[in-house]
């Protein structure tokens, strides 16, 4: 039986936030008498993550995804509740715990800007107490996996964003952690770079059985990597479960584009009781419920002269967009 590697119970986090009225008067008032209020950004959440799982955290900006990730890796103290990661209390930041985890943030970098990435890799290797031979072996293996072996000796400031992100990944993985916290790792990358990064993460997970917790606003990252998602809405978990179940629930219909042999056939089909979305000459788009796709298609193929037929999934971004604004899902 696969063990839980992350165990979160009734976790809450509050921050003191100061607010300022607009204008000069507001600025002066803010300077002399700052008004702060305690804001609960994470509200009594509980979940477990099993070893080797890839879990996506979904939510709108400010929903609390990054705060959860930062509490899981021990950067910020929880206000209430308990967290156990790999058997450790993260906020104590014990050496053995830190050797087991890594955090990668798409918008922040740890590489030394003026030097080639290889210098940062060796620096990290010494921090993780790796000998030179072992470090060299790991850099070679990871750089081949990430396809950046040629960029290792070019100053970081001269690398493209995609090459820099791959180098950041290598720097963060040199100690072969078994829990990865990724906060929007594909931010700003082009489509090819995003795909390569996803391929790498999947391969890393397959080869090392590492647990990955991921936040991303690129839905492709979530759909291609995560079987399970945790949706966060205003600091609360609105859904925790399989991604495909959620998608089925949120998009119960499919769009079918049917190309008829003649316009006459298209007209007949239009009046046959299906929900018509659009019709242009002999092309007609209808919506069919997921659970009656087979029977409906059988009826259409038997009764109408069809030239071609396309089944379209609704755009994933549109579906996930619904998740970000809802408080609860009953699946």
């Amino acid at each position: 039986m696969v063990q839980n590697i992350i165990d979160v119970r009734n976790l809450s986090k509050s921050f003191d936030i100061s607010s300022k009225e607009p204008g000069l008067k507001g600025t002066i008032k803010h300077f002399f008498r700052r008004q702060t209020k305690s804001l609960k950004v994470i509200k009594d959440i509980s979940f477990e993550i099993k070893e080797g799982e890839i879990v996506g955290f979904l939510g709108a900006n400010g929903a609390g995804k990054t705060t959860i990730l930062k509490m899981l890796c021990g950067l910020i103290y929880p206000s209430e509740g308990s967290i156990l990661v790999s058997g450790y209390l993260p906020f104590r930041r014990k050496e053995n715990f830190l050797k087991n985890i890594t955090l990668i943030m798409g918008q922040k970098q740890q590489l030394i800007w003026d030097l080639p990435p290889i210098e940062s890799f060796y620096l990290n290797a010494s921090i993780y107490d790796l000998d030179k031979f072992e470090a060299k072996k790991r850099i070679k293996k990871l750089s081949e996996m990430l396809e950046i072996d040629k960029e290792l000796f070019i100053p970081v400031r001269k690398l493209s964003l995609g090459q820099r992100m791959k180098s950041e990944l290598l720097a963060a993985l040199i100690h072969e952690p078994n829990i990865l916290f990724l906060d929007e790792p594909t931010l700003g990358l082009d489509i090819n770079a995003q795909r390569n990064l996803r391929k790498f993460l999947q391969k890393y997970n397959n080869e090392t059985n590492a647990t990955i917790c991921l936040t991303s606003h690129y839905m492709k990252d979530i759909t291609s990597l995560c079987k399970r998602v945790i949706c966060v809405h205003e600091g609360e978990i609105s859904y925790d479960g399989k991604l495909d179940l959620l998608l089925k629930k949120l998009s119960p219909v499919k769009e079918i584009l049917i190309v008829c042999r003649s316009e006459e056939d298209a007209n007949k089909l239009e009046n046959s009781g299906f929900t018509v979305e659009n019709k242009i000459k002999n092309e007609i788009t209808i919506k069919i419920k997921n659970n009656s796709i087979t029977s409906s298609l059988k009826t259409i193929l038997n009764n109408f002269d069809i030239e071609d037929l396309f089944i379209n999934e609704p755009p994933i971004d549109e579906v996930i967009g619904k998740i970000l604004t809802k408080k609860e899902y009953d699946i």
Binding site: F15, T66, K70, C73, G74, L75, I76, Y77, R93, E95, N96, L98, K99, I101, T102, L103, M105, Q107, K108, Q109, Q110, I112, D114, L115, E119, S120, Y122, L123, N124, S126, I127, Y128, D129, P155, D183, E184
Partner: protein, 264 residues
Amino acid sequence: MNLRKYLKVYKKFLHTSLASELEYKTNMLVDLITAILSLIGSIFLLSIFFQNNGYIGGWKFEQALIIQGIYTILNGITNTWFNPNLTEIVKHIREGTLDFVLLKPIDSQFFISLKKINPSGFLEIMLGFFLLFFCIRINQINLSLSFLTLSLITISCSICILYSLWFFISTTTIWFVKTWNAIEVLRSFLYIGRFPLNSFSFSLRIIFSIFIPLAFITTIPSEVFLGLSQSWKILLEVIVASVFLITSRKFWLFALKFYSSASS
């Protein structure tokens, strides 16, 4: 603490810092020239003060040069280690890159205090020692083992006090986010430390001894050089340095509990 690992990491810090600095040769050359000009300017200023009666606060020009020498060494250490590292703390906290430091299996205070060096500060340290040796000759100071030991102890204590003060102010960034001005004020006070403590009024002497311990930073080590220091003063400096160092450490660990990391 694994000393071997820390030495290995520090060797890497030195290597990467030097390599980064050498990427910009002109900048390094300008820094070196600035260090030399700054020392010449300081000695010239001191000589102007001593022009009229040859004494300030009971100190001769040749004796006051010792304070200048110690100040130059401390300023060199400030420019080599404190300035490149401790001013970065503010940046780390404002931009949230302290996250990377805190998640490394290494002492975070060690990492943020020693990661960078500015090699041009080494020249200032060398110039300071050169000036001290010059002062030893012109003041006809007898070089004995006890003299060298006491000098080393008091200068080390001065470095600890200065580091602790600077680190303490930088740590407050966790709450106040921006503390550049406080660091500039500290540097200005250090600038005052080039003059003998006795040259200031009584009230300022109290302030510079208790609240901002300038007396401990430059004057006491200089008194050791001139054989004027009493043992209780040296002992007091050791105690003050230890208290400052321990307090800055405890304060850092306490402050980290309030670190909220920058939003992404």
